[in-house]
């Protein structure tokens, strides 16, 4: 068992849901496959999907929904 981190390459606002009234992409304890969307980062009104490059289980989100993020910031930790 080891821990992987998913970082945002972009600055902006992090969203954990595809739309305000829809469920979150992932929650702690959820299984994650390579390519699964874990959130969106909004840069100047353009949305970019953040996907997982590892397979495993979500440990925790280090950034809240709708929080500002900087490039390189860790969004989520995944147990692989």
């Amino acid at each position: 068992m080891s821990k992987a981190e998913i970082r945002t390459p972009l600055p902006g606002i992090f969203y954990r849901k595809p739309a305000p009234d829809e469920p979150r992409f992932k929650n702690p304890g959820d299984k994650v496959a390579v390519g699964d969307v874990i959130g969106l980062v909004e840069v100047m009104k353009t949305f970019t999907q953040i996907t997982s490059d590892v397979e495993g289980t979500v440990l925790s989100f280090l950034v809240e929904d709708e929080e500002a993020v900087m490039p390189g910031q860790v969004l989520v930790e995944i147990e692989t």
């Binding site: 600055p11 606002i13 840069v43 009104k45 353009t46 500002a68």
Partner: protein, 461 residues
């Protein structure tokens, strides 16, 4: 004069513009800002600044209560909403007035009436202003709507009454397509805007976007002539001009008179813009919507008329009568504005927030650059990408184009990718130079030219 201090509930270049207008009227400017904008040019220029919340606009520039509290605490008598954010939010306008403050714009009921696309269309029809053939008001029965679509004639646009800026529009070419798209559009509009109301409009294939600036003080109304904004990408304007050279004098007069008639019919107070589609083939024009706020492209009108529209709207909100008569408003020469966005036109307009190094701002006769920049400024990623607007004015259109090219050659923004190369390429394009464009001209042009849009000079070897 009741207003001595104005709180600016916006950011970026328009906040800077409003600060300047307030200063010329001898008023103090209080800049409301998010934590991400603490280092903005507007905050630096304003007399005072108040932080109203964290970076996301929903928690700062869209937090009406925080804005009203900031205004009350700073001792401002009025709030200027700029454009976007809360500028056309009728409930916010009402809340500002309920708090004992002045909203710099029309009253909540006017915003409500003109902001709802279906009621605005009805208001236009009532004022005798031609509207695009379509459903009269909101569709009440989706099943019967296909009959209305047949009467209008395909292709038709299905529009959300609560939409705007191109959002919530679908195009149906056949009855089958219509039957499929209409329920989808209703569901999506309900989800996106909390209002599933739809209406229909005939799609006019090749049209120009022409809009008329108006001013009213509630009893007297004038037009400030027209602007043409046909160069659009994803329904966002990228290049605006005044006057519109495609119009005959007769059509121009009809269009401007129609805008004044509409403003008068709703007792308009403030600055507003009546937008039209102009079908060059038939010579017909049709009302599309009214914007009850200052617009991004207002400087081209200011250039040809020598008026300060932002100062004028503040004066009107302060209870003064309109200072201009229609006879005072005689256009001189030709003006062009280009929007400078922090986007890379060579890379599908990818947003490019970043840090500005050295900068060189164009200047000289007939050149104006409204912007939010200073050397070392870190462009935040949280808001729209507009950095500024370059406006040129000259005795005629060809000289304005020459002046635009000269100004673009002077502009240097080290470290940022911007849409300046797009503006330079458009200024050289034969269709743009001859004015042979329409609202669907730019996107196909970009498909074949975008890859050739080289970046700014400092990126070249």
């Amino acid at each position: 004069m009741k207003i001595r201090k104005i709180l600016i509930a916006n950011r970026g270049e328009i906040a800077v513009r409003i600060i300047r207008a307030a200063r010329t009227l001898g008023m103090h400017a209080v800049q409301a800002h998010s934590s991400a904008d603490a280092d903005s040019l507007a905050v630096r220029l304003a007399d005072e600044a108040v932080e109203i919340g964290p970076p996301p606009a929903g928690k700062s520039y869209l937090n009406g209560q925080a804005i009203i509290e900031a205004a009350l605490q700073s001792g401002a008598q009025a709030i200027h909403p700029g454009y976007g954010f809360l500028a056309e939010n009728a409930d916010f306008a009402d809340a500002v007035v309920a708090a004992g403050l002045i909203f710099i714009g029309p009253d909540g009921n006017t915003i409500r009436k003109m902001g709802d696309k279906a009621s605005a269309r009805q208001a236009a029809a009532d004022a005798g202003v031609p509207t695009v053939p379509g459903s009269d008001g909101v569709l009440t029965d989706l099943g019967r709507a296909v009959d209305i679509a047949h009467q209008i004639g395909f292709p038709v646009m299905i529009k959300a009454t609560a939409g705007g800026g191109g959002r919530g529009i679908r195009i149906a070419h056949t009855a089958e397509e219509f039957a499929q798209l209409a329920p989808q559009a209703a569901t999506e509009a309900e989800a996106a805007f909390g209002d599933g109301g739809l209406y229909l409009e005939k799609l006019i294939a090749r049209s120009r976007h022409i809009e008329v600036q108006i001013l009213g003080d509630g009893t007297r109304f004038v037009h400030c002539h027209e602007r043409e904004c046909s160069l659009q990408r994803r329904r966002q304007k990228v290049w605006e001009e005044a006057p519109a050279t495609s119009l005959s004098d007769e059509t121009r007069a009809e269009l401007c008179d129609a805008a004044v008639a509409l403003a008068a019919s709703v007792g308009y107070r403030g600055a507003g813009t009546v937008e039209f589609l102009y079908d060059e083939a038939s010579g017909e024009f049709y009302f599309i919507e009214m914007n009850t706020r200052i617009q991004v492209e207002h400087p081209v009108t200011e250039a040809i008329l020598g008026v300060d529209l932002v100062a004028e709207m503040i004066r009107i909100a302060d209870g003064e009568p309109l200072s201009l008569t229609q006879n005072d408003l005689k256009p001189q020469g030709h003006a062009i504005e280009i929007r400078l966005n922090a986007e890379d036109p060579a890379n599908n307009f990818m947003p490019f927030p970043g840090q500005l190094g050295e900068m060189n701002i164009p200047a000289g006769p007939g050149i104006r650059f409204d912007h939010m920049l200073y050397p070392g400024y870190l462009v935040p990623p949280f808001y729209d990408s507009l950095l500024g607007k370059l406006i040129v004015h000259a005795p005629d259109r060809s000289q304005a184009l020459a002046r635009l090219k000269a100004a673009l050659a002077e502009l240097q923004l080290e470290g940022l990718k911007t849409t300046a190369p797009l503006a330079a390429a458009l200024a050289d394009d034969p269709d743009v130079r001859s004015g042979a464009v329409h609202t669907n001209w730019l996107e196909p042009w970009l498909d074949s030219h975008a890859h050739t849009l080289s970046q700014q000079k400092d990126d070249l070897p």
